[in-house]
Symmetry: C2
Subunit: 377 residues, 2 copies
Amino acid sequence: MGSHHNGDRASSSNGGAALVDKDVDFAQYFCTYAFLYHQKEMLSDRVRMDAYYNAIFQNKHHFHGKVVLDVGTGSGILAIWSAQAGASKVYAVEATKMAEHARTLVKENNLQDVVEVIEGSMEDVTLPEKVDVIISEWMGYFLLRESMFDSVICARDRWLKPSGVMYPSHARMWMAPIRSGLVDQKKGDYDGAMDDWYNFVEDTKTYYGVDMNALTKPFNEEQRKYYLQTAMWQNLHPHQVIGIAAIIKEIDCLTATVNDVLEVRSNFSSSITMENTRLCGFGGWFDVHFRGRKDDLAQQEVELTTAPSVDDGTHWGQQVFLLHPPDRISEGDCLNVSFMMNRSKENHRLMEVEIGYEIRQSSGRSLPTLKNKFYIE
Amino acid sequence: MGSHHNGDRASSSNGGAALVDKDVDFAQYFCTYAFLYHQKEMLSDRVRMDAYYNAIFQNKHHFHGKVVLDVGTGSGILAIWSAQAGASKVYAVEATKMAEHARTLVKENNLQDVVEVIEGSMEDVTLPEKVDVIISEWMGYFLLRESMFDSVICARDRWLKPSGVMYPSHARMWMAPIRSGLVDQKKGDYDGAMDDWYNFVEDTKTYYGVDMNALTKPFNEEQRKYYLQTAMWQNLHPHQVIGIAAIIKEIDCLTATVNDVLEVRSNFSSSITMENTRLCGFGGWFDVHFRGRKDDLAQQEVELTTAPSVDDGTHWGQQVFLLHPPDRISEGDCLNVSFMMNRSKENHRLMEVEIGYEIRQSSGRSLPTLKNKFYIE
């Protein structure tokens, strides 16, 4: 019943993309967060930790004596910090068995009188009261992978007081043209897989009397998708960014609706800043800001960025969309890019992307627009 | 409804292990078989392919003019061979979208008048008639991982004529003591993970004011399970087998019930055959035989074995259960081993294993029994 209900709600509120059945969602998505190893990976991300720590402790006025909700508390870290910053009450909601560990940590750190850990999904739990602050670390790769912000919106609409504050308050998605040796590696892997296939078809016919050539087309599509069209996780070096980065999405966490984040559409231009290089693809990342709200500003604004960095890389890395073949390009050229991203029909937590671009060379000549399909898996 | 029904049937027929919810089962288990890359991996296993090819074509009397059922046809290979061997009709059942590719292959190989591909789970489909032969490649790692034999039993009980034949007809599980450098590698990985954890707890306390020491115990259990207690896939070299291998399970595919395969219990002895070595763990594998039935024997018996081999390794490899720390052991010593395997409570397709052993040294001295828990994931 639950899954059917989810299904109905899905088609009306999820832009046609089916919400994954609840049990399947748990088995595929939530369960990864039940592992301490995964929590530790996020807790070891110093850039992430510093940002949230500073956002809270440099803005105690937002927390002192206030009621806080931590959406997706995981190990409980944000809830614990909120309590240490003086919150009178913290509700820490966590869908997985990690909630038990959060409870343990809360007790060990003597905060059980303030922090109440609730195991359940945000959409299902009931709080005894509305809250002054919603804090959450909901960002997935390239911001929206995992679609966890939906749960934050749900929490906000149900539990945030009219004067309440969102932590973070704002989020942005960025994109820039890049160069990367990965494009040659993936092309090599793909070519190798196809060479291997042709030998396989030959052998299967010779030794086993079965002609598998009819499957070459679907096999090829499967390998193209896997090797060439799936967005890759990378920690890009700033030197790999070959053009001016552009903001492709801006979100006000206080007012955004699920509808606002179902789709990302952006047309932007990017001037190339590197001489004689290759346009190997595009890199995508995000930043979030802790600004408070207009009538209750943060005393100290904090930024958490996942832009390519030498020293301050994060566990999010960037998402890389590779172009095959790469284009020769140089300083003075300009790219006109059309970007579109929406949720996968099969799984609302994954994304489908279309990137089209046109190269305006410094000579004035224009190279035709090509559209490329990608998958954020 | 489907999943609840499965649940009821599960508790009564699955030894207490919950059958995974149908949709979850599809998302976690079946879906991997929908990839051509995975099918190709199995189709490229020459030992596997040769065994089934020879079993069929060296026993055409079992197929000529007969009605055949292929359980879990995948790409359709066994169904196609059955038709080429002269079957009058072949029903090829496949739960995933791979069925569409099987249909394509059947057509391209001009067998659409004989082979009917049916997309659906074996438990749900209805055939127009009973069959003379059930052929299936159902074996998972260490034979029973995936619990696919349940579906073959279901097919047999519903659709096999009283005089029908099973392909394969018999299956056996084997076990032997082994040596392996993997034991040092995994111990190193585990130690490294724990060292890293202790530093992490220190840093989190110092920089972020949160004491995570209370999670050391569960983190340690999680890493022990992952690094030390999870059965590993390996293609063992015969020189790694340091004692006499033993049969720990025998299955007659014509008569076995689901109850017979819910649990594997065996006490066996193994004489050590290598001087001055280390007992690093146990290797497990299986073989199947194509013998026909007593009143309708195969003309040519065929064996498919996954025992450690230099030239004839298979994609199944062996399952390796490592012991920490390894024991010094030598020719003349003898192991008394107790082996127990049953289905995981959370997922009937995965296994939990307990291995206890006692070393009877050639001197007559006996080293105490130790019991070790393992997981086949």
